[in-house]
Assembly symmetry: C2
Homo-oligomer: 252 residues x 2
């Protein structure tokens, strides 16, 4: 058996998320189907970060196992990219030890969230940003964002999904390493977040809350208080999926 | 009556071109509908360059006339951008003298044609480039392209459309000012072309022919000979629409 690692980028607009689910179009579904055709048996990919419907990726990492012999990296990439079409790109392919696991070996994930605040947004980037008209003050947002850095219970900023029957609720404690707010010209803000891992809707919940700070509708201190409260009601509106991109996953 | 000039950008992927035609989705159709709702009467836009199906624009210019009073530029832009959605953006709006004509006052048009030659293409740019796998040598392409600069009959590089009954065939003589071939990294080529105006399919015909030169399947001199021949058979394959963007139109 051979284990392969693939690095994958995608435009998430046309997918109902990464994970396979019956009756929906998913990134994993497309990858599994293309790999299945190449390998001659069912293939199931495992990923570094299960992105939600409409979320994009520049550096998603997946692994899969195959008994097929003689696969060669350059040929594999070429065939996959031809089969997958323009919405998904395989940017690297390599054989890895079977101890490598795209999900459990990943030690950090970096996401970018982009907001455009002008009246119009360039149609060439419109699919990959949140178009939210009206000025935002970046300085208090950057200050407030520092409350997120460190080891915290992010219950306030996570979507609660009830545990499966017989299972205990999963911890929402995470270690967040960096949260940068950067201006790209007068009408674009990029939020860069790096953490060991993220809970469901965490980046979009944090960004939606910070945007309220940038609008002047919420003060800086309220973000730290919301975090401490562990109360989902203290979270701002969840920012829309289209602005979010899984930028990179780190190993070792 | 007031004449307005709008500067317009669009992702052409979802449109069957700029011009209105029955039963198809066109950029002008969307603009006319949105403007008609705002003005309370039928509106017909006139443009600097009628782009084909799948061709994009960053700096298309249109004009329209209205009797509606009290329209204000900032409000007009805001309302239009909300109505038009992410595929079309109105990037500027201004009242112009009625002597201004988006088509006939334009003294030049600049197009960009982009080719990506690597195995994969970033899904965030895939809609706006021609993904044509395999290396191209830019140097002979740049040399061959210089044959196009100047005052020429571009019959070889234009799609022949039979004249309407009773009309004479239109001249295919054009004045081409610049043709630059630029590398953007090892796997991307941008062709920048500036001319007074262009015939139908002209940029894509010239690019398709130059790509054969870059592939080594055609020599540099054959391009100038093809141009002189006025023989459409001497043209290479027409490059696909998705790589082409109307970049700018110039006035005065």
């Amino acid at each position: 058996m051979t284990r392969w690692r693939l690095d994958v980028a995608y435009d998430g607009s046309g997918f109902r998320g990464f994970a396979v689910n019956i009756g929906i179009r998913s990134v994993a579904g497309e990858l599994n189907a293309a790999l299945g055709r190449m390998c001659g048996h069912d293939v199931t990919v495992t990923c570094a970060g299960r992105t939600d419907a409409g979320v994009h990726a520049r550096g998603q990492v997946v692994h899969f196992d195959t008994d097929k012999e003689g696969l060669e990296a350059a040929r594999l990439m070429r065939s996959l990219n031809r089969m997958l079409g323009p919405e998904i790109a395989v940017t690297d392919a390599q054989i890895v030890p079977t101890t490598f696991d795209a999900r459990f070996s990943a030690t950090w994930r970096r996401y970018r969230y982009s907001v455009v605040t002008s009246v119009w947004v360039d149609p060439q980037v419109a699919r990959f940003v949140w178009h939210r008209e009206g000025e935002l003050d970046p300085s208090p947002m950057a200050t407030a964002a520092q409350a997120f850095v460190g080891h915290h219970d992010f219950s306030t900023f996570c979507r609660r999904t009830p545990p499966a029957p017989g299972q205990v609720e999963r911890s929402r404690v995470r270690n967040l390493h960096e949260f940068d707010v950067r201006c790209d010209g007068p009408h674009r803000l990029d939020f860069w977040v790096l953490a060991s891992s993220f809970c469901h809707h965490q980046v979009r919940s944090m960004v939606g809350t910070l945007v309220q700070v940038g609008e002047g509708r919420r003060n800086v201190d309220s973000v730290a208080r919301a975090l401490e409260s562990l109360d989902r009601q203290q979270c701002g509106p969840v920012a829309p999926a289209e602005g979010l991109t899984l930028w990179q996953a780190g190993y070792g």
